[in-house]
């Protein structure tokens, strides 16, 4: 009987375990929430679980029977834990998915703006011009905006009765002082500073002033940028070479230049230069952009260079004009009214 009893104990425990397993797996498969799962974990695999209860009864079993029941018990535990872990993972994944879903943003809404200022279009053009010529070995020279008659006119070979020297056309402060009407006096100063040392290669940007009534194409204050090269053996063909290189860097590789004879008191020969320019409608036209020439021997002399030894060329252009061409601007006054709606258009490359 004892053997029967013992047998039945073992059998009973095995059955209990299998029943427990069936019940646990059934319940666990149906678990709906992480909280339920936590409760079931306690119920089926915790220290106070039914499984633990059953295993506690193993003490009554004989040494032969114990491993048999133990093996079954382990299988049951593993089966239950496997389901619990699977369910656990499922809930974590579900929760993550829910959070990701909840964190969704409207990507079409604007971002927080990064501060965005802008360079004035005239300085933008001046910097671009400066950079081109810096790359060609020029230095940048500057000079006073209030000039003497000597630097503004006389040293540039403008005769006393030249119309530009009239009170009507320039802003005089005294008989001898005036707002410079061109950036050319900077060239004279650069020549003086060079003390006869060549080569001299400078560009001279700056504001200039002329008595003009403001309208769409005139402004009493505007900007020029001039260039000057002096050395032994500088030729007019070098001027052409320089201008072609400049024009292509500024207006594109396809640009061509055309030179027309002209007259400036400070150069001889004097030249006006046209470049090919493609208009908004695609038409390619010649547009005048600068004046230039070989430095007049009198100007060389006054700047301290012997015209029998040295020669040079000079060129000059209006910054506003270049900007107007480059950006297709219709009114020069925009540059000085500083309307943000105008300026902001240049806050980009």
């Amino acid at each position: 009987m004892k053997g029967d009893f013992i047998m039945s104990e073992t059998v009973q425990m095995k059955e209990q375990l299998l029943t427990l397993k069936a019940e646990a797996l059934d319940v666990l498969e149906k678990v709906g929430t992480p909280k339920e799962l936590d409760e079931l974990r306690v119920k089926y695999s915790g220290k106070k679980s039914a499984l633990t209860e059953i295993l506690r009864g193993m003490g009554k079993l004989s040494a032969e029977e114990r491993p048999v029941v133990g093996q079954v018990a382990n299988e049951v535990r593993e089966a239950i834990e496997e389901v619990i872990n699977r369910k656990q993972e499922h809930f974590v994944r579900e929760e993550t998915n829910a959070r990701l879903q909840a964190e969704k943003v409207d990507v079409t809404l604007p971002g927080r703006p990064m501060p965005q200022g802008g360079i004035h279009p005239l300085n933008k053009v001046i910097e671009e011009l400066e950079d081109i010529f810096l790359g060609m070995g020029y230095r940048v020279a500057e000079g006073p905006q209030v000039e003497t008659d000597y630097y503004n006119f006389e040293a540039l070979n403008l005769p006393q009765n030249h119309p530009a020297r009239d009170m009507q056309d320039s802003f005089y402060l005294t008989e001898d002082l005036l707002m410079r009407t061109q950036t050319s006096p900077i060239q004279i100063r650069a020549m003086e500073a060079a003390k006869g040392q060549a080569p001299l290669k400078v560009i001279c940007p700056g504001a200039v002033y002329r008595r003009d009534d403001d309208d769409a194409t005139h402004s009493f204050q505007f900007h020029q940028i001039e260039g000057l090269v002096i050395d032994k053996g500088i030729r007019m063909s070098d001027l052409k070479g320089t201008l072609l290189q400049f024009a292509r860097e500024m207006f594109g590789e396809q640009t061509e230049i055309r030179l027309r004879p002209s007259f400036f008191p400070f150069t001889e020969p004097s030249v006006e230069v046209d470049v090919t320019f493609t208009k908004k409608n695609g038409e390619r036209v010649w547009i005048e952009i600068l004046g230039c020439g070989m430095v007049h021997p009198k100007v060389l002399e006054m700047g301290g260079f012997d015209p029998e030894v040295y020669s040079g060329f000079a060129f000059g252009m209006g910054v506003e004009r270049i900007a107007i061409l480059k950006y297709g601007i219709d009114d020069i006054r925009h540059f000085y009214s500083n309307d943000m709606r105008f300026l902001k258009q240049f806050s980009r490359i």
């Binding site: 802003f171 005089y172 052409k240």
Partner: protein, 813 residues
């Protein structure tokens, strides 16, 4: 200068040359042709007709019915409304099918029941500018000379088969203010000869010197005065060809004598004047300076007040003309004039220019004299005009030219080296090529030595005085396009910005990245705007323009703030209210009340902030800018330049600023605390005046900054030992600047203190009135070992004791 192709062809052959092509070639050789215009404004089938009869229209008072012989085989009946139409006239008739300017087509029509087979035309209807017509032809139909051939096309008669090239002359090319000058230029371009008018005045009667005399008193202002005496002339209308020439050139015909002087002026570039000799005092001419109080009524019937700086022509002590500008009304050639004194002279350009400027009177004559006339043309032009006057106005040229010559015309001879020419241009021209160009220019030249030629420059080309001028002549006729394109040879030079130029760019770009928009303002401003804010360098004098265009722009700016405010205000009026602006520009001032030397020009940086930091957005509120925004911008600049530790801010109340929200900015240069600028809010009164909300500005002198910048970066080893941070909150009097607290902490903490910064400031009732709590974070570190609590506490306690002692600071627990 308007150059008629037809007229030009009298002096140089234009065979096979199209006007447009010629214009392009002239432009490419140095004289810009502004326009090419046909004189025929769109006329076809208009011919000369003879008005055989004129009768009143039966049904219209103002209309006439004319029978016209227009050489069409049958007479035409034309209804005409002009008052001046009359039988016996020769008139322009637009036949049926004719076209007139303005796209007008002439058709057969019935006017109030009467058939009209064409139209009798006025000059205006033919497209002729009526300002250029003699007065009698300005209204009504154009009445043609009696002897005009019937049926002749009107375009032939009026010389309308012609094209006008408008020469836009540079100041050096006044030689082309004449048809002959233009002919020399065109001849050189085309390589064709120039044919001068043949002038052989036939003299008769007694010596001119019996009738007229010439005395030059003002020898400085008149180098040559020549005159002829012509008697027995008959003033009348000029022949049509002459009128056509003048009209083509834009000059209004007046009478034969005046027209001829104008014609010759246009032909030779030498202005002439004819006086009614009987109105002069014994035909005596004096050339002298004007006298104070002297008056002269000029040809345009204006009374002119003369002075010692004006050159006048006088006779018997009385002014009869403004030399080179305009003749006097009294001695004018008029219908009754019989004897004339014809003047051809060379007046000094500068003197004529001054006279003309002083009187505000410019004429075709003054325009030419101002640029100096050709000395060699004075007498030929006189003879040419005399001959034409006799031909078209009868009369007799008396024997001899009466003249006084102060200086003889001199032809210049220049030497030109071929190798210099080629090295100057970068060309490889041969001697023959160069000589050929001078031959085309009609500059005689010959060899002097190897490589050297001698060129004689005609007096008409007064602009050529040096060898480089000759080089230019060669270059422009050789063609600038034919000059090669070469790179510069010789030593290369490194291109670089100077340190200040580089720093200026750095500051510009830094501010742009910080959200500031650069502006460029005018250098001229209103004196009151200069006074609004104190000058950075104490009180100096404004620099004023002698003749400003308006008071608004009458002095040079002494700072940038006023200009920035103006720009901000301009934008606010256009609904651009959130502004962050900067300008880098010059301020001008002088120590001298009366300027005798160049004023100071100092570079400034100006900043302006107003409105909101950024517009409201779905995730950002629109916060107003405040003092610390603009201060932050300055700190950013100083920090980037590496001079932030040298800069201090001291509360200040500069004029024009909010007294509680502004400061002076100081730079420690090592030798001194230099005031370099101002920062603060604009005074609310001014804000209201310029219609701005709270606006913050800063103005900084840049030169002292540039001097302090040291671009050398030296690496510091990264800390190996941890730091210890201690935060404190102290309660002090509200008036104590937090900067004083941190300065005190730095001083008392010594070398262990790595950094100190204020992280909170607040006021509240709990603290008591006029008190504030300042929370400060102190970071301590030792470079060689890990600090112990005891080490820090020792220093930190010292800091607290010092704060308590110095500022009465209480530690908040």
């Amino acid at each position: 200068m308007k150059v008629s192709m037809d007229w030009l062809s009298q002096y140089v052959s234009l065979e096979g040359v199209q006007a447009e092509d010629l214009a392009e070639r002239i432009t490419r050789a140095g004289i810009e042709i502004d326009s090419v215009e046909s004189r025929n404004a769109g006329i076809t089938t208009v011919v000369v007709g003879y008005v055989k009869s004129k009768e009143k229209h039966p049904d219209a008072d103002k209309l006439n019915v004319c029978i016209i012989d227009a050489g069409q085989g049958e007479d035409l009946q034309i209804v005409c409304g002009a008052k001046n139409v009359d039988a016996g006239q020769k008139v322009p008739v637009a036949l049926v099918g004719a076209k007139l300017p303005g796209d007008l087509h002439i058709k057969k029509a019935k006017l109030r029941g009467v058939l009209s087979q064409g139209m009798i035309c006025s000059a205006k209807e033919l497209g002729i500018n009526d300002k250029l017509l003699p007065k009698e032809q300005q209204e009504g139909i154009l009445v043609l000379p009696e002897q005009t051939e019937i049926g002749m096309p009107i375009v032939d008669l009026l010389g309308l088969n012609d094209q006008i090239l408008d020469f836009d002359l540079t100041p050096n090319r006044s030689d082309c203010l004449s048809m002959l000058g233009a002919a020399y230029e065109v001849g050189a371009i085309l390589g064709r000869d120039v044919k001068l008018p043949e002038v052989q005045p036939v003299e008769g009667g007694d010596a001119a010197s019996n009738h007229i005399s010439v005395t030059i008193e003002a020898t400085e202002a008149c180098s040559h005065f020549s005159a002829r005496y012509i008697s027995g002339i008959k003033v009348g209308t000029s022949p049509l060809w002459l009128q056509n020439r003048l009209i083509a050139a834009g000059v209004r015909p007046i009478n034969n004598v005046v027209d001829i002087t104008n014609f010759v002026m246009l032909e030779y570039g030498q202005p002439l004047h004819a006086y009614d000799a009987d109105k002069l005092n014994n035909g005596a001419i004096e050339v002298r300076m004007g006298r104070e109080g002297e008056v002269l009524t000029t040809l345009d019937d204006q009374e002119r007040k003369l002075d010692e700086r004006m050159l006048v022509i006088a006779s018997g002590g009385k002014a009869v003309g403004l030399a080179g500008v305009m003749g006097g009304a009294d001695s004018e050639v008029s219908q009754g004039t019989v004897n004339i004194l014809l003047e051809s002279a060379r007046f000094d350009g500068g003197t004529v220019r001054k006279t003309s400027r002083r009187l505000g009177l410019r004429s075709e004559a003054s325009l030419r004299f101002e640029k100096e006339v050709d000395a060699a043309a004075v007498v030929p032009a006189l003879n040419r005009a005399a001959e034409l006057i006799v031909r078209y106005a009868h009369g007799m040229i008396h024997e001899g030219v009466v003249e006084q010559v102060v200086t003889e015309p001199q032809e210049q001879t220049l030497q030109l080296s071929l190798s210099k020419l080629n090295s100057y241009l970068g060309t490889e021209l041969s001697l023959l090529e160069v000589k050929t160009i001078f031959a085309r220019l009609q500059f005689p030249c010959g060899d002097v030595a190897h490589d050297l030629i001698e060129v004689r420059v005609p007096t008409r080309r007064g602009d050529i005085t040096r060898d480089v001028d000759l080089i230019e002549e060669v270059a422009r006729l050789y063609g600038y396009d034919n000059i090669p394109t070469t790179p510069i040879e010789g030593a290369t030079t490194p291109g670089a910005l100077t340190a200040p130029q580089r720093l200026r760019r750095t500051i510009r770009h830094l501010l742009v990245h910080g959200g500031y928009q650069e502006v460029i303002s005018y250098s001229f401003t209103h004196p009151d705007k200069n006074k609004r804010f104190p000058q950075l360098r104490g009180t100096h004098h404004d620099v004023a323009l002698a003749m400003p265009m308006s008071e608004e722009r009458s002095v040079l700016r002494t700072g940038l703030v006023s200009q920035l405010l103006e720009i901000a205000s301009y934008n606010r009026n256009r609904k651009q209210e959130n502004l962050a602006l900067f300008e880098i520009g010059m301020a001008f001032f002088s120590e001298e009340e009366k300027l005798t030397r160049q004023p100071h020009e100092i570079p400034l940086l100006g900043l302006l902030l107003t409105g909101r930091r950024q517009p409201a957005q779905w995730n950002t509120s629109a916060e107003r800018v405040d003092f610390f925004d603009i201060k932050g911008a300055l700190e950013g600049v100083f920090s980037y330049l590496g001079i932030q530790p040298q800069v201090t801010y001291k509360a200040d109340q500069p004029e024009g600023y909010h007294p509680g929200r502004s400061a002076s900015v100081y730079l420690n240069t090592g030798t001194q605390e230099l005031r370099i600028g101002t920062i603060g809010q604009i005074h609310p009164d001014i804000q209201r005046e310029v219609d701005l909300e709270d606006t913050y500005v800063a103005e900084i002198e840049l030169a002292p900054l540039y001097e302090q910048v040291n671009g050398q970066i030296t690496y510091h080893e990264l800390p190996r030992y941890p730091s210890i941070q201690r935060d404190i909150a102290v309660v002090v009097d509200d008036a104590i600047p937090s900067g004083d607290l941190t300065a005190s902490i730095r001083e008392s903490a010594g070398e262990l203190l790595e950094s100190v910064h204020v992280f909170d400031v607040f006021k509240g009732e709990r603290l008591g009135a006029d008190k504030k709590s300042v929370a400060i974070a102190l970071v301590y570190r030792h470079p060689e070992h890990t600090l112990t609590d005891e080490e820090v506490t020792a220093v930190h306690d010292g800091v607290l004791a010092r704060l308590s002692e110095q500022f009465g600071a209480e530690l908040r627990k």
